[in-house]
Amino acid sequence: MSGPAAHEQVHVLTGMPSLSKLYVNAAAAAAKSRVLGGASHTSLPPRCHEVRGVVADLAKMTEYQHLLGKPARDVMPSGFIHAMAFPVAMSVMVSEDFPLPLLGMIHLKNRVRHLGPVLYTQPVSIRSWARRLSGHRAGTQVEVVVEVRADGSAELLWRGVSTYLAKGVFLPGVDKPAAPGVGWDAANTPFNPPDPTALWRLGVDAGRAYAAVSGDFNPIHLSVLSAKVLGMRRSLAHGMYLAARVLSDVGSPEPDAFSWEITFEAPVFLPASVAVHITDTRNDDGLWQRSEYVGWNVHSGRRHFCGSVAAL
């Protein structure tokens, strides 16, 4: 396991990085590498980034909760913690010595262990690092770990691992896997849609709406034009929006301690009608244990995502 103890270097940032500045830096880096040649690094940065004393923006959290159709409780939704911590993760990915280009990376998978309820008033420290740089049939994948703790405490509250794919990037010394990778390229496997339990009608502005509450202004989500600049035919929904929406559909309130994961397959180009099926498993006492879910395009039947939520 690569945990924080494994990091010789902890790089403590003085405050939350600005996502918009990080995207500008990423764009500049992309332009620079296009002019000066490919990436010069073939291994991950050896340090983790940490920001201490982070407190949620209540207005943003309320907007987030309302957008996702959640009752606006004082406990932070699991997906909101991801959004709040995302700038720290991104600061790792735009480091000079990060071997993969941030812009255009594909979100393959997310696994989260949410270990206890976190009030929005709780100051937290957020730590992030990258690990497991590995080959993928279509490029190179990497995991970015985020850990959230109560400020000044060693006790873990929330831990997320996001898997990203830099499509078409092949690094020397990083082998391709023998077995097919998870997600994305698994979308070609046949899928027989079950009866839907929910239907999401996502408008063209679904990406902008989630960007506004999450701060994730990745251009591929904002407009057809900005998405086309990055090689997408249309703008697409944030993976984390889909994850948060399905978490919201699984149930309210969120359990105190739970784990969830999502694997992204065919991207959701906007506008879209996404059908969702959720299957609950209960124990002998009738208590909820876990839910499996799958989302697909109503018209084409292509699978967009699948995953599960389980009590811890």
């Binding site: 009866d195 929910a198 099926h277």
Partner: protein, 445 residues
């Protein structure tokens, strides 16, 4: 989850004094955009109330309480029922309250007021409901609403200008009410299409039920059954959705309207689903003493009622299947079976809803695993089902349906009188949005 406890240890309903149904009045129901296109909820509720007051001589009468509601409500309708009372010939000292339980609103107002009468809190009550799908509230968008509310809190011109500058063109698009369930995004018809398919209800049986609804309602009109249950309004003397000349051949020609993109065969059409409708209904309830003192008829007693809800969100049960659970609990508590009823009214939200309900009750496995019974709950004798037609023919102005059902059934029971030496019995079952359902037992007087 099956609530087996409710079945295994039925508590006897508390024996208190009786609440009786004296009569009812409604206006004919109109298809949305038709005769009542310009009539508001308050207009229609007042019209139904006026007719009831005239029929039973309630001018200047101080009624114990009036309870009514609407599902689609304007913000100005916050005190809809009291406003309708103030605009009526009833004594202005008549209190009123609004209630909302989606399509079960009307039936729930009857049960609530009957309970107050039984407990001696009031002597008389008027229950009712109204809905307009034509004069539906349209709100400003959430974005504009937020901006306008912020604007009302601003103190300086600079603040106001800064807030106004947030308005974007898309904020100006209005927000109309929709029939989609908030938690699933599926419309009520789509939900029912899933249930209809799950219970393998075919197209023809749905069309047959729809046809029977039209034929039965038309026959009831023809023999004058509704003469003392209805007041004409805005030129209508009959429900405008009624198609007395409908036929299976005509119904079979209609294209599927729901479940088309959900996979599987789509069997639900505009013909075997209720249309959006405008209308209002009222029911006069009282204690026996009040009825006698006012020399008014007593058609039936309100015996008992039961509400249920299902976990439809992840598809454990169909959205409109809660009555499937409410009725067995209600009957167990009263030591009755389906065969003990002379008339059964199952609200026809969709033909598929009624047929899925009957199928679930006839299913042995469902009876065992979900209802906690030894086998199937039972069968409904189709000759006793919706004998004067129901919502498929009459239409379904959401909150007004309960009052229509109660007043019609009370009259039917009163005519029937006694059966084998016991009072005639009737059962009402109404499904509602949000996975809810309400059932009630009436007994002839």
């Amino acid at each position: 989850m099956t609530d087996t406890d409710a079945n295994s240890s039925p508590a006897n309903p508390v024996q208190v004094r009786r609440a009786v149904i004296i009569g009812g009045n409604r206006i004919p129901f109109a298809r949305a955009g038709g005769a009542y296109a310009k009539s508001s909820n308050q207009d229609m509720l007042t019209a139904a109330l006026d007719g009831l007051i005239a029929r039973f001589g309630l001018q200047d009468e101080r009624i114990g309480e009036v309870a009514a509601g609407a599902v689609l409500k304007h913000s100005r309708d916050f005190n809809l029922t009291r406003e309708a009372v103030l605009g009526s010939a009833l004594s202005p000292e008549t209190p009123a309250y609004d209630l909302q339980q989606a399509c079960a609103t009307g039936l729930e107002t009857v049960l609530g007021l009957a309970n107050k009468i039984k407990l001696g809190q009031i002597e008389s009550g008027i229950a009712g409901g109204v809905d307009s799908a034509s004069d539906a509230p349209i709100a400003v968008s959430e974005g504009l609403r937020g901006i306008l509310l912020d604007l009302s809190r601003a103190r300086t011109l600079t603040q106001r200008l800064s807030i106004l500058s947030r308005i974007r063109p898309k904020d100006l698009a209005p927000d109309a009410p929709s029939t989609a369930e908030p938690r699933t995004g599926l419309s009520m018809g789509e939900h029912q299409a899933l249930t209809t398919a799950a219970w393998k209800i075919n197209r023809q049986s749905q069309d047959e039920l729809a046809l029977a609804s039209h034929k039965n309602l038309a026959a009831a009109y023809d023999r004058g059954f509704f003469d003392d249950l209805l007041t004409p309004y805005r030129g209508l003397t009959r429900d405008s959705n009624l198609r007395a000349d409908s036929s299976l051949a005509k119904l079979a020609k209609l294209k599927p309207a729901f479940g088309v993109s959900l996979g599987g065969e789509a069997t639900m059409t505009a013909g075997n689903s209720t249309p959006l409708t405008d209308g209002a209904s009222t029911v006069l309830l009282a204690s026996e003493e009040w009825a006698r003192a006012h020399d008014l008829p007593m058609l039936a007693s309100v015996v008992d009622g039961e509400a249920a809800a299902v976990d439809f969100v992840h598809g454990a049960d169909g959205l409109l299947m809660a009555p499937v659970f409410a009725v067995p609990r209600l009957l167990a508590r009263n030591a009755l079976s389906l065969a003990d009823f002379d008339f059964i009214e199952i609200h026809e939200a969709f033909a598929g809803t009624v047929l899925s309900t009957l199928a679930a009750w006839e299913d042995v496995e469902f009876g065992r695993s979900r209802l906690g019974l030894e086998g199937a709950f039972g069968s409904v004798d189709r000759s006793r089902l919706n004998v004067n037609g129901s919502s498929l023919a009459a239409g379904h102005p959401f909150a007004a349906t309960g009052g229509r059902l109660v007043a019609s059934l009370a009259k039917l029971l009163h005519h029937k009188g006694t059966v084998d030496g016991r009072p005639a019995r009737g059962l009402i079952s109404v499904c509602a949005a949000g996975g809810q359902g309400v059932a009630a037992i009436l007994e002839s007087r």
